[in-house]
C-alpha cells in the first residue's frame, strides 16, 4: 500500500497529577468532527484523559471508539460519568450522550478553558470547515461566521496537499518555514486548482518547501479575509487541527498583525473540552438542586 502522507497519528493521554477517584463530578465531551473525533474526560472541571482519532464512515462507532480509548487504562467506566455531551458535525450520532451542543458554543467554551478568559476571538480551523467565533470572558458566543463550503483553509485541504507533495502532514508547517525567501502565495485558493498550480511550480523547478510555503500563505490569506469580515478583537486564539500547523499560523499572524495566544494544551480538544465543561455545569446545578 502506498504511504498515506495525510495520515496523522491517533493518540490518547491521561494527565499526570489528576485522578478521577474522589472527584465529585465526572463528565465527558465527545467531538465527532468530519475528519477527526475527540473524547475528553474531565474530573471536577479539570482535564483528566483524552483521545483523538480519525472519524470513520460510521459516526456512532467513531464516537464509541474515541470514548473507549480515552477511558482505557484509567479504571474509569462510562457508567460512572455524571454527564456526557456530544458535539461537532456528528453530535447527534453519539448514542451514549445525554445531550448535544453545537460545536460553535463548545469551541468558544473550550478556548476559554485552554487559553483563559481573555480570549475574545476564536478561529477554529477544523477538518472540513473554518469558523470565526467572538465570545465574552465566560466563553459565551457573541457572534460567529462559518465557511463550510470550501476546502481551502481546512484540515482536509491540507491533507490533500500533503498527499500531493508526499510530505507527512505534521512536517508541512516546519518545512514551509525552511525556505530562503518567502514566495508569493499560490493564486488559487481552490484546493483542486492549487493542486495543479503546485504541480506546475514543482515542474518548473521550485523546491518542495517553497511550494508548501506558497500554499500555506494562500491558505492564511484566505482565512484572514474571513477573520476581517467578523473583526478581530484581542485576545486572539486558534483551535482545531490547523492550529498545530506553524506554516499557516505564523503567516496568518503576520498578515493579521496580531499574535495568537499560545498554549500547552492540545488545540484539537477545544470542542470536546467545551462539551465536557457544559456537562460539568449541568451536573453541578442538578446536584445543588437535589441538596
Amino acid at each position: 500500500m502506498a504511504t498515506e502522507f495525510w495520515r496523522w497519528t491517533e493518540y490518547r493521554k491521561t494527565m499526570p497529577g489528576v485522578d478521577w477517584q474522589g472527584a465529585e463530578v465526572l463528565t465527558a465531551g465527545v467531538d465527532v468532527g468530519s475528519v477527526s473525533s475527540q473524547a475528553v474526560i474531565m474530573a471536577d472541571g479539570k482535564l483528566y484523559a483524552y483521545s483523538s482519532m480519525r472519524t470513520g464512515s460510521d459516526s456512532p462507532k467513531s464516537a464509541q471508539n474515541a470514548m473507549d480509548w480515552a477511558l482505557e487504562g484509567t479504571g474509569l467506566t462510562r457508567d460512572k460519568l455524571n454527564y456526557t455531551i456530544g458535539t461537532g458535525y456528528g453530535r447527534v450520532n453519539v448514542p451514549f450522550s445525554d445531550r448535544a451542543v453545537t460545536e460553535i458554543a463548545c469551541h468558544a467554551r473550550g478556548a476559554n478553558f485552554i487559553y483563559g478568559p481573555s480570549v475574545r476571538t476564536v478561529l477554529d480551523m477544523g477538518g472540513q470547515d473554518c469558523k470565526v467565533i467572538r465570545c465574552d470572558e465566560k466563553g459565551k458566543v457573541t457572534t460567529f461566521l462559518m465557511n463550510d463550503k470550501c476546502a481551502a483553509g481546512t484540515g482536509r485541504g491540507m491533507e490533500v496537499f500533503a498527499d500531493l507533495l508526499q510530505i507527512p502532514i505534521t512536517e508541512i508547517g516546519p518545512r514551509s518555514l525552511d525556505i530562503e525567501e518567502e514566495p508569493k502565495p499560490v493564486s488559487s485558493t481552490c484546493v483542486v486548482f492549487a493542486k495543479s498550480e503546485a504541480t506546475g511550480l514543482l515542474r518548473s523547478g521550485w523546491p518542495k518547501n517553497k511550494v508548501i510555503a506558497a500554499y500555506c500563505a494562500a491558505m492564511a490569506h484566505r482565512v484572514v479575509a474571513l477573520l476581517e469580515r467578523v473583526g478581530v478583537e484581542k485576545d486572539f486564539a486558534i483551535t482545531g487541527g490547523i492550529a498545530k500547523n506553524v506554516g499557516v499560523t505564523s503567516r496568518l499572524a503576520r498578515e493579521l498583525g496580531i499574535k495568537p495566544l499560545e498554549t500547552e494544551y492540545d488545540t484539537q480538544l477545544a470542542g470536546a473540552i467545551g462539551a465536557a465543561l457544559f456537562g460539568h455545569v449541568i451536573t453541578k446545578k442538578a446536584k445543588a438542586g437535589i441538596k
Binding site: 472540513q128 481552490c190 484546493v191 483542486v192 486548482f193
Partner: protein, 259 residues
C-alpha cells in the same frame, strides 16, 4: 485568405481556421507540461487538416486564459468576447450563452447583434467547472468521457450536499460505500455543477435562446442536467469546445489589412 482563432484554455488549446467566413479546419491539443508546444501542435493539426500553407494564414486572434502565450497572434480577445462572438455566429437567436470549460464557467447575455450586455464568471472554484466532473470521475473510477452516458441511465435523483470538489469527493466515496448506483452518483455530480452554473446565470437573467458551449457541453449528462435545472431547452452546437476559438477567428477575419 484564411484567418485563425486560437483559444488557449486551462486544459486544451483549440484552433479554428476560417476561409471566407466558413470553417475549414479545427485543431485541438491538450496542454501538458508545455503550453507553447500545445499551441504549436494544435495550430499545426489545423493547418494540416486545411491543406493550407502557413503563409496563407494572414490574420490570427488569440483568446483564453493563456492568450498572451500565442506570440504569433496579431490580436487578442477576452474569453467572454470570443465566446459571445462564436455563439452568435452559430445561433443568431442566442440571448444567453453558457460556456463551461475545464476551470471556469461563464454566463453571457447577448443582444440580437451578438453584443455582450452582461456576464458572470465562476472562477477560482472547481465546483462550477469541468474540473469537478474530472475529480468525481476519478472517485467513481470511470473515465470522464463515460460520465455523460452513465448519468443518463439514472432514474433516481440523489442529493449532493457538498459544494466543494474536495468534500464532494469524500461524499462520492460515502455514496459508493452506501451502494448507491454509479449512474445515480454521476447524475448527482452533473446536477450539482448545473445548479451552480444556473444560479450564476440567473444573476444576469436568463433569456431564450440559451446556448451551451465549452468542453463540458460535450457531456450529454451535464447538458441534460442543465436542461432540467433551467426547465427550458438548450441549444448545443456540434463542436461546442471550439466556440471561443471560432469567435476569435471571426474577430481575426474582421480585421482590416494584413498583419
Amino acid at each position: 485568405m484564411i484567418s485563425a482563432g486560437i483559444d488557449v484554455g486551462a486544459k486544451n488549446v483549440k484552433v479554428v481556421l476560417l476561409r471566407d467566413g466558413a470553417v475549414v479546419a479545427r485543431g485541438l491539443e491538450m496542454i501538458g507540461l508545455n503550453t507553447q508546444a500545445a499551441i504549436d501542435g494544435a495550430f499545426a493539426a489545423a493547418l494540416a487538416q486545411s491543406g493550407a500553407g502557413r503563409g496563407e494564414i494572414t490574420k490570427i486572434t488569440a483568446t483564453g486564459a493563456g492568450r498572451k502565450e500565442v506570440q504569433f497572434a496579431g490580436g487578442e480577445l477576452t474569453e467572454v468576447g470570443a465566446s459571445a462572438k462564436g455563439v452568435h455566429h452559430l445561433f443568431s437567436s442566442a440571448r444567453t450563452a453558457i460556456d463551461v470549460g475545464a476551470e471556469e464557467g461563464r454566463a453571457i447575455k447577448l443582444d440580437e447583434k451578438g453584443k455582450v450586455q452582461d456576464f458572470a464568471i465562476n472562477e477560482k472554484c472547481a465546483a462550477g467547472a469541468g474540473a469537478f466532473t474530472e475529480a468525481m470521475a476519478r472517485a467513481l473510477e470511470v473515465g470522464v468521457e463515460e460520465m455523460g452516458e452513465l448519468s443518463l441511465r439514472s432514474r433516481t435523483a440523489v442529493p449532493m450536499n457538498a459544494q466543494c470538489a474536495v468534500f464532494a469527493e469524500s461524499e462520492v466515496v460515502s455514496l459508493i460505500h452506501a451502494k448507491t448506483p454509479k449512474e445515480d452518483i454521476a447524475r448527482a455530480v452533473h446536477d450539482a455543477i448545473a445548479d451552480r452554473i444556473v444560479s450564476m446565470a440567473r444573476r444576469i437573467g436568463i433569456e431564450k435562446d440559451v446556448v451551451l458551449v465549452g468542453g463540458l457541453a460535450r457531456n450529454t449528462g451535464f447538458v441534460d442536467s442543465i436542461k432540467r435545472t433551467l426547465a427550458i431547452d438548450v441549444l448545443v452546437p456540434e463542436y461546442p469546445e471550439y466556440a471561443a476559438a471560432l469567435g476569435a477567428a471571426l474577430h481575426a477575419a474582421a480585421q482590416t489589412g494584413g498583419q
